[in-house]
């Protein structure tokens, strides 16, 4: 069409084309404007964290300088002290253990549950699926008191293994829900073909469904990771000695003493704690987009 307009620049098509181009330019301009606004808004806090973490305590104490910039030179002191003289590394290790276990437990349970609920039609499966989702709607601030009783009764109070037990109550329902949706989007003929090819339900799940639903599984994994890495209420309520503490609560409780805020180390700790999620998001986001299901059926 564009070549036709070029060959025959009649009076009629020319204004339409330029007005089209103009409205497109406006749309682009508006979207860039808001995207930039959005980016600035959300990058402000991380920027402030970086700036603060790279300052010396002395500079922070001097109220005369502008807090948005570094005047006395960049220093890594905050990181050095945080890593060598506090329990930060213990918190980090505890968080990693808890998160890895929670993600593993969540994925095993929710993939199996979603496969059963989404593909193997049985009496009450759809009600059960909705029921699972509803449990996700109960906030953890409401659940932590009864959970406290349970965790205490099995002797896991003040142990990060208690967190491994408790976090899946947040992650499993939602991940199951995501996976049900994903499994249901896989055409029914694919499991029938596998059934005829001689696959049992377990082989069908492992060899067909998991590879095909990989983008969905990774999405669910990212969710489980984020929830368990960033959980605050449960460790706040259930953990009190620093050798069992996790990053979110540990960083705050050990670096705020009374009304003394160690801002530099708090920001350095927050940056280090935010690094793993950032790295994981950056690497796994591509999988989200990968259209693995394309070509399974007529597309």
């Amino acid at each position: 069409m564009s070549t036709a307009t070029l060959v025959l620049p009649t009076g009629k098509t020319a204004p339409t084309r330029s007005s089209l181009r103009r409205s497109r330019r406006w749309a682009l301009f508006a979207s860039y404007f808001f995207l930039i606004l959005f980016a600035i808004f959300f990058l402000m806090p991380p920027y402030y964290m970086v700036v603060t973490a790279l300052k010396s305590d002395a500079e922070m104490a001097r109220l005369a300088t502008n807090p948005w910039f570094i005047f006395d030179g960049v220093t890594l002191d905050q990181f050095r002290i945080l890593l060598t003289q506090t329990d930060f590394l213990i918190f980090f290790k505890n968080t990693v253990i808890v998160t890895v276990c929670v993600v593993a437990i969540t994925m095993v349970i929710s993939v199996l549950a979603a496969f059963a609920l989404g593909r193997m039609r049985f009496w009450g499966s759809s009600i059960l699926a909705t029921g699972i989702f509803l449990t996700y709607l109960v906030p953890d601030t409401l659940l932590f008191i009864p959970m406290f009783q349970i965790v205490k009764s099995i002797g896991l109070l003040n142990s990060y293994w208690g967190m491994v037990l408790v976090y899946p109550t947040l992650t499993v329902p939602f991940c199951t829900w995501i996976m049900i949706g994903y499994f249901q989007s896989i055409p029914k003929e694919l499991d029938e073909a596998a059934l005829i090819d001689g696959a049992g339900h377990m082989q069908m799940l492992l060899k067909i469904f998991i590879p095909v639903a990989l983008p969905g599984i990774i999405a669910a994994m990212i969710f489980a990771f984020t929830v368990s890495w960033a959980a605050f209420v449960y460790p706040m309520a259930f953990l009190y000695s620093s050798d069992q503490q996790v990053l979110t609560v540990g960083t705050v409780t050990s670096l705020i003493r009374g009304d003394v805020y160690k801002w530099g180390m708090l920001m350095a700790g927050a940056l280090l704690a935010a690094a793993p999620p950032l790295v994981i998001y950056a690497f796994l986001m591509d999988y989200y987009i990968a259209g693995l299901t394309a070509g399974a059926t007529k597309g």
Binding site: A193, A194, I196, A199, A296, T297, K298
Partner: protein
């Protein structure tokens, strides 16, 4: 390779009877096509043979063994689906090899079988591609390859060509026939396209509303339909139907279609039609049996004049449409003899191919 038998097979979904007590025998090596309009139970029947649907009652046997309670994988069947159902994360080779791997074939055996099937289907160069990188026709070939490598007792095809464009469909139809002539496996093929049914089948099973209307070779169904449904379903364009009255004319019989048109009944049929003389029946005549007069002016009472409503030139022939007594008729005539829409035309009914149908039962008399 094996024969397939269905005995009084019923499928109910709640109160709805999708398949009503059908009996069907498919001998070894035969290519049988189940054809009918959508919702006639043909796909359900196929899926029951595959084991993907449970049967409500009756027996299905493959190779003499009743398979009612066997899971699909133990029935030794292979199925090709309408939307191909290829595993998207596997290459064409792995797609075809999957069933063999699950059955613990040796690597060498798998390779040999897949390559053999790939040669039959002419997809050797595509074996390392994923489904995403294949065209519709190529995907369908891989899906067929997946069926062939297993060397099953029975092939089941569920409308395999419906997703392809018209040209490719004709090409793949020939391909399927060629493959069947090579591997000779008993085949059950479901389609709603009667042309596909006629061209592919050794025998066609016409189904309607969960029942088998008629089983026969394409030739039998075309020339000797047993019911009005089969007569109207097989053949394209469809057979013309018009109410008529069978009357005595001297020593012979005539089918009076309108005040001016009465077609003589061939003497060979008189005995058969004697019982309905004087009754209202339905006359069925295919478009190809209503033509321009081809008898060199020797009038035999089968000629009649009509006013053309619509004229559709097809190249080698022309379809003309007209109405008699409010019933629309179609006829196939020589392109040179057809006038324009609105013109008068003299047509000739080839009464040797007429059918009379009992309007109450729908049975061909």
């Amino acid at each position: 390779m094996a024969e397939v038998a269905l005995r009084q097979v019923v499928k109910k979904y709640g109160d709805v009877e999708a398949v009503r007590a059908i009996d069907l025998d498919i001998p070894n090596n035969e290519f049988v096509v189940l054809v009918g309009p959508s919702g006639c139970g043909k796909s359900t029947t196929l899926r029951m043979i595959a084991g993907l649907e449970e049967i409500t009652s009756g027996d299905i046997s493959i190779g003499g063994q009743v398979v009612n309670d066997l899971p699909p994988k133990d029935r030794d069947i292979a199925m090709v689906f309408q939307n191909y159902a290829l595993y998207p994360h596997m290459t064409a080779f792995d797609n075809m090899a999957f069933g063999l791997k699950l059955r613990k074939f040796s690597k060498a055996e798998i390779k040999q079988r897949v390559e053999h099937a790939a040669r039959i289907l002419d997809i050797t160069e595509l074996l390392d591609r994923r489904p995403k990188a294949l065209s519709g026709g190529q995907r369908q070939r891989v899906a067929m390859g997946r069926a062939i490598v297993r060397n099953p007792k029975v092939f089941l095809f569920d409308e395999p060509l419906s997703n392809l464009d018209a040209k490719l469909r004709v090409q793949m139809r020939t391909e399927i026939k060629r493959v069947h002539q090579k591997v000779k496996t008993t085949t059950v093929y479901v389609t709603h396209d009667q042309v596909e049914a006629m061209t592919l089948a050794d025998r066609v099973v016409v189904m309607s509303q969960g029942r088998i209307e008629q089983i026969g070779t394409p030739h039998e169904l075309y020339h000797h339909p047993r019911t009005r449904f089969v007569a109207g379903f097989i053949g394209s364009p469809a057979m013309n139907f018009i109410p008529c009255r069978l009357e005595q004319a001297g020593s012979g019989l005539r089918a009076r279609v309108s005040d001016t048109i009465a077609l003589p009944v061939p003497s060979s049929r008189e005995a058969r039609y004697r019982s309905v003389v004087g009754k209202e029946v339905v006359l069925g005549l295919r478009p190809e049996h209503i033509t321009e007069p081809r008898h060199n002016g020797r009038a035999d009472g089968c000629d009649f004049d009509v006013t053309l409503d619509v004229v559709e030139p097809m190249g080698m022939e022309t379809m003309v449409f007209f109405t008699i007594n409010g019933t629309e008729f179609c006829s196939r005539v020589e392109p040179s003899s057809a006038g324009d829409a609105g013109a008068k035309m003299r047509l000739h009914a080839n009464v040797d191919h007429m059918h009379l149908i009992d309007p109450a039962s729908g049975a061909v008399i």
